[in-house]
Amino acid sequence: MPAMNKTGLIISREYLTRVRKKSFVIMTILGPVLFAAFLIIPTWIAQMEDQGLTRIAVVETSAYGDPLPDSLQFFRDVIPDRENMQFDYLTNMRLEEMLRTYEATDYDGVLYLPQSLVSSGNRAVVEFYYRKLPSVSVESHISGSLENHLFNNKLIVRNIPADLIESLETSVSLNRVSWENWPEMVEDATDLKRGLGFVVGFLIYFFIFFFGAQIMRGVLEEKTSRIVEVIVSSVTPFQLMLGKIIGIGLTGLTQFLVWLILTFGITTVAQQIMMPNPATVATELNTPTNIMENNVIHEVPSQTGMENNAATGVMSGMIRQLGQINMPYLIIAFIFYFLGGYLLYGSLFAAIGAASDNDTDTQQFMLPITIPLILGMFVMINASMNPSGQLAVIFSMIPFTSPIVMMARIPFGIPFIEVLVSGAILILTFTGTTWMAGKIYRTGILMYGKKVTYGELWKWIRYKA
């Protein structure tokens, strides 16, 4: 039987035993639920935070702290109520008096506004007494409303019409046009490219770590169960190592594919439920019970409509911009860098497993692997911000970081020669590491009860075949 068939046998065993495991099935189903939870829970929590009504008493006094009637209050109704915030403007009340009787009231906080505030310069501090720490949104609502009111007041005092100020403001943003497309003007897709590069780079990072560790554990299992000697009397250690790496890689791809599909499905369904379209929002708003039940839609109807329009605008823009990205190229590059990175690190993980007797032994060799991976992750974030920067270019050439970093750059359409060079270096390096790992593996799998040092590993690499 040719050698390839035997490697094929090993691959299929590695693949089938893993795919049929209960833990695999559970993780494959549960993974997307967890993923979706990651995406949904923050949104959900953000909503939760603003549930419950915060009632705040507003006490306004003269500059000297004397109580004021409604008619003399400068800040009366300046801070509007929100769906989850209620502001009660008290009449003829001193702060001390309010704070003394505070216990008996059910206010969550007391906002103290002496009229001296009106004459404050560029900075002002307002006292807020709380029973329950106010949320960030409550705080920003209060300070925002006050800032607005004081600003308008200053305009009036200086006799400046409000529309004049508005007419003076100019907001500037860059319309990025790549020379590649010039003179044709193409809609800029930089943000999409950033997002895409980041996601793809992160996928590679995650995959290498997760399934690399599985390779290591698999090697360790064969070693501790002592079956390895039987196997290597039928196949070469190199075939066994390669079969394991490929088999686990396929397992990973399978799981990932299922995850991707399920995550996409779940997220879409969840979004459908949580963010209904504007038409239904308008009708639902008429029933008061819905207002309490679902705070997301408790907005002024026109505003919700606008936001939704903006959201669909962004979506259709993204879809339009996707057309600018060479998707087949991106996918091929992803597969290439994924495989290259996985083979590179996978062989190192296999070597670690072979050089260790148990899980704790592996720790000492893990650092040299985790450091470049994590470094790659950090540089990747930088590279998605500045894809042509020196840092990004250098690290997309270094094979230990290039699979992650280059993926963040590729959506930006970097020179093909750079991809070619980086790819060639990656191929050369993973050939080298696989060869090296094969040597460590060959010696390590038959070595028991010995604390292996780096010097020892070096010796193993130099042993004759």
Binding site: M1, I227, E229, V230, I231, S233, L446, Y448, K464
Partner: protein, 309 residues
Amino acid sequence: MYLFSARDIVKKFSNHLALDKVTLNVPEGSVYGLLGPNGAGKTTLLRIINMITAPDTGNLYYSGRPLTQKDIFEIGYLPEERGLYKKMKVGEQSLYLARLKGMSKNDAMQRLKYWFEKFEIQAWWDKKVEELSKGMQQKVQFVTTVIHNPRLLIFDEPFSGFDPINTRLIKREILDLKKKGATIIFSTHDMGSVEELCDHITLINKSKTILEGDIHEIRHSYKSDIYELGFKMDPMGVMNELNGNFEIVGKNVSGTVHYLKIRVNPGFTGNDLLRKILPEIEITSFHEVIPRMNEIFIKVIEAQDKKQS
């Protein structure tokens, strides 16, 4: 005709020489014993024969030509450190190992069925290995070693970990495999099984071959003209009868029968001894003492160790 030969094998590890010009010639159809104290280099040699590790220098021949990777399909190897995938089912695992040895799925199934029936272990087929006792696992492992009908079988300490019943079973199987034409190399510390099974032996100590050859020739070459005499009578009379030419080196009693071990000095034979004592006593047994492998083993190794120190 040698089925397998290893010539002048040298293997060095970082800080010690594991094998120093070891040569092994295994005649086809024989059972070959590889003996030696712990750490002598036996397992290293067996791994080299299986092409798991390569020698630094020296050559390996199979069927008269250099050993190649293809030949390992004709070799079955039972390593000293036994092990199977614990979470894998017995049947599935046996099939996998058989196929790694180059068998087709159908052939492998057929052969497995034969062996599982022979060992009466069919009921284990769908059990996970971790559910079996250690002895049961060893049986499964033995089956997976012989499943592809290897011409050359290599057992590293095949009896370690087996109870006496299973040990007997394995011994029978080894002799049965030999009868069917297989050649067997095995390493062991158990000298009793060497005498029972082996045709040839090589004794390795401290990386070197110190004794090798046909087991009967070796045992005969180590005999020292001692005879054991069994008789019914008061031994004093016999002992007085023996003069300087015959020396009593041991005595023993079993019931009414006395046994004496008598060395015959050079120039005399067992017949001389018999002639001398025949008129005096009622002889129940008389035979030449052939040294046990155990004695030879200890004697040879102690002699070498002494020489070196």
